[in-house]
Structures are given as structure tokens and as C-alpha cells.
């Protein structure tokens, strides 16, 4: 069983819903056209041997539509193949069904995505914030949220203030010829 074979089996079962596999440096990615059908696709992938959900994460394509892309990293302990599933969700909807019925570990991954990006998961047993606190009003990992943070206050729980940026975040410039060139310098954030 190779990752390509895994992706082809998935595609042969679901046809137009699952795209042809793309490969990059030995990693196989498959796009799922409709995020609503994700639990079915995942259940079949689990039947094919992908019994280990490594990660669920989300990408914010700020300015594009659909804005969100959810990425599922799958792995099989028997056949030892990785597979990546990607699904798009539009900002207007910002919701898709949960895969906690397939892998129980998706519980905390989806809570983290809800906490930091604001994407809801229908059918999740306990969808609440996991890193920030209950009552925190913003979604910090969105691209329109500033790195320094915004002042908030939930009495008796937590407060936040905007951190002083002192001329921008200090970012390294990779690929310089020596350490002095690569040194972190103040860089203005766009937007």
C-alpha cells in the first residue's frame, strides 16, 4: 500500500467528490470538493487503514473566497502511509461537520480551530475555547487580527492588552550570507 494507492482507492469510491492526488516531495494530497461530506470520506479512509489522525489544521486565505481551508493529516499504523485531505469552507458559512465520530482525537483539534479561527464544527460534543478563555471575543489566528493583540477584559477570568511593538515585529531575514544579515530586524506589517 502506497500513499498513491490509498488516494486512488479513495477517489475510485467517491468519484467527483475527491480530486486526483497531487504529490510534493513524497507527500500525497487529495482535495475534497464538498466539506459537508468530509465525515463520510474520513470514515472510508479509516476503513482503508488510516486509523491515526495526526492533525487537523486550518488556513486563512484572507482576501480569497473561500476563505478557510481545513487540512486533515491522516496516517495508518498498519500500512504506514500518510495522506492529506484538504477541504474549502467559505467565510459566509464558516461551518462544517465534525469528524469526532471517526477519530475521537479530533475533539481537541477542532476545538483549537474553533478557538483560534472561528470555524464551527457541527456535531462536535463539546465545542468551546481551548487555548483562550471563555468570553474572549476575538479569533487570534485570523490574518486580520494584529499580532500585538487587542485590549479585552473578562472580569475575574482574564484581561489582555495590546503589546508594545516598538516599530514592528522583529523578523529574521532567512538566506543571508552571514549571521549579521540574518539578524532579526524590525519589519512593518502590511495591513
Amino acid at each position: 500500500m502506497t500513499p498513491q494507492r490509498l488516494a486512488e482507492l479513495l477517489q475510485s469510491r467517491y468519484g467527483a467528490l475527491v480530486s486526483a492526488p497531487t504529490e510534493f516531495r513524497g507527500e500525497v494530497t487529495v482535495r475534497v470538493a464538498d466539506a459537508e461530506q468530509m465525515p463520510e470520506v474520513c470514515a472510508y479512509a479509516k476503513k482503508l487503514g488510516c486509523d491515526f489522525l495526526l492533525d487537523i489544521t486550518s488556513v486563512d486565505n484572507y482576501g480569497e473566497d473561500p476563505r478557510w481551508m481545513i487540512v486533515y493529516e491522516l496516517y495508518g499504523l498498519e500500512h504506514r502511509c500518510h495522506l492529506r485531505l484538504k477541504a474549502d469552507v467559505s467565510e459566509a458559512k464558516s461551518e462544517l461537520p465534525s469528524v469526532t465520530g471517526v477519530w475521537r482525537t479530533a475533539n481537541w483539534h477542532e476545538r483549537e480551530i474553533y478557538d483560534l479561527m472561528g470555524i464551527r464544527f457541527r456535531g462536535h460534543p463539546d465545542l468551546r475555547r481551548i487555548l483562550m478563555w471563555e468570553g474572549y471575543p476575538h479569533f487570534p489566528l485570523r490574518k486580520d487580527f494584529p499580532l500585538a493583540g487587542k485590549p479585552t477584559d473578562v472580569p475575574d477570568v482574564a484581561f489582555t492588552n495590546a503589546s508594545p511593538m516598538e516599530g514592528g515585529p522583529f523578523v529574521t531575514t532567512p538566506g543571508g550570507k552571514d549571521a549579521i544579515e540574518r539578524e532579526p530586524r524590525a519589519k512593518e506589517l502590511e495591513g
Binding site: M132, L147, A148, K150, V157, T160, S163, M165
Partner: protein, 170 residues
């Protein structure tokens, strides 16, 4: 009002009797038995543990036991990143400590927020607690933490104990 009284003792003159001021004696007792309350939040806590271990023995200086109860400790060592989520808990534990209490902000994150200038990290524990000694480093060497403890001991030695007590009673 600052007192800088040393305990002067000359065996040939005094013999077995030590004459000193009460301030100096009380401060000597307090400075040499500062029991830390380790608020170990992140990587600096590992260096705090290393300072407590045998090579850099912190108990040489009287910080014998790391009392994890605020009621039984004297100095809170904030070792690690204080996130906004944890900040209310740190303040609460500090409030539960009995006077006289001191705070050592260990490491860059506890002093100023460190490398985390972000939405989730409190930019320095001195925004919620009064800090006595700051230790630079990421993480600071155990020797640096011991240096901070010695500086704190010197600060405790200068405290006008009786004057404060009398003021509180009045």
C-alpha cells in the same frame, strides 16, 4: 528609613556574647531562610530545578525547600512565560502569601514578556506584581539566579523591620 547595621562580633572582646541591633538580627534570620515559592511556568522552571539540585545547590543560601504552598513561602520565583490566561492565577497566589514577601522575576518572559510580543502573553509580571529582582537570560544560568537571590538577601538586610511593625500596629 534605611538601616545598614552589620552584626559585629569580635571574639576577643565579646567572648561568647554577640551584641547587635534587633533589626539586624531579624533581617539576618529572614534573609538566610527565604523559602521560594516556585511559580514555574515554562523553560525557566527547568533551570530553577537545576538550581535546586545538587550542583548549584540553592539550599546553601537558605532556600532549603521549594514550598509549593504560598502560605508557607517567602519569595515567589516567577520562572517562565506568564500568559494572560495564567495571570489571574499568579496574582491570586501572590495575594495568598504572607508578609514579608518578595518576588524574583526569572528570565526574559517574566521580566518583560521576552520574545513573545503577542496577544496571549503578559508583557512582564511586574504589570500585576511588585517585583524585587529581575534576572536576565533565556533561561538564566543557575548562577545568575543565585546572584539574584544574593541581591535579594542584601535587599532584605536593608529593611527597617521594627519601624514597619510599629507603624502597622499604630
Amino acid at each position: 528609613m534605611r538601616t545598614a547595621t552589620e552584626i559585629g562580633y569580635n571574639t576577643k572582646v565579646e567572648g561568647d556574647v554577640v551584641v547587635t541591633r534587633l533589626d539586624a538580627a531579624l533581617n539576618w534570620c529572614r534573609q538566610n531562610s527565604l523559602w521560594p515559592m516556585p511559580m514555574g511556568l515554562a523553560c525557566c522552571a527547568i533551570e530553577l530545578m537545576a538550581t535546586g539540585a545538587s550542583r548549584f545547590d540553592i539550599s546553601r543560601f537558605g532556600a532549603e525547600v521549594m514550598r509549593f504552598s504560598p502560605r508557607q513561602s517567602d519569595v515567589m520565583v516567577v520562572a517562565g512565560t506568564v500568559t494572560y490566561k495564567m495571570a489571574t492565577a499568579v496574582k491570586r497566589i501572590y495575594d495568598q502569601m504572607a508578609e514579608p514577601k518578595y518576588v524574583i522575576a526569572m528570565g526574559a518572559c517574566a521580566s518583560t514578556g521576552g520574545m513573545y510580543r503577542s496577544y496571549a502573553v503578559l508583557q512582564g509580571v511586574d504589570r500585576i506584581l511588585p517585583v524585587d529582582v529581575y534576572v536576565a537570560g533565556c533561561p538564566p544560568r543557575p548562577e545568575a539566579l543565585l546572584d539574584a537571590l544574593i541581591k535579594l538577601q542584601k535587599k532584605v538586610a536593608r529593611e527597617p523591620v521594627l519601624a514597619t511593625l510599629k507603624k502597622a500596629a499604630a
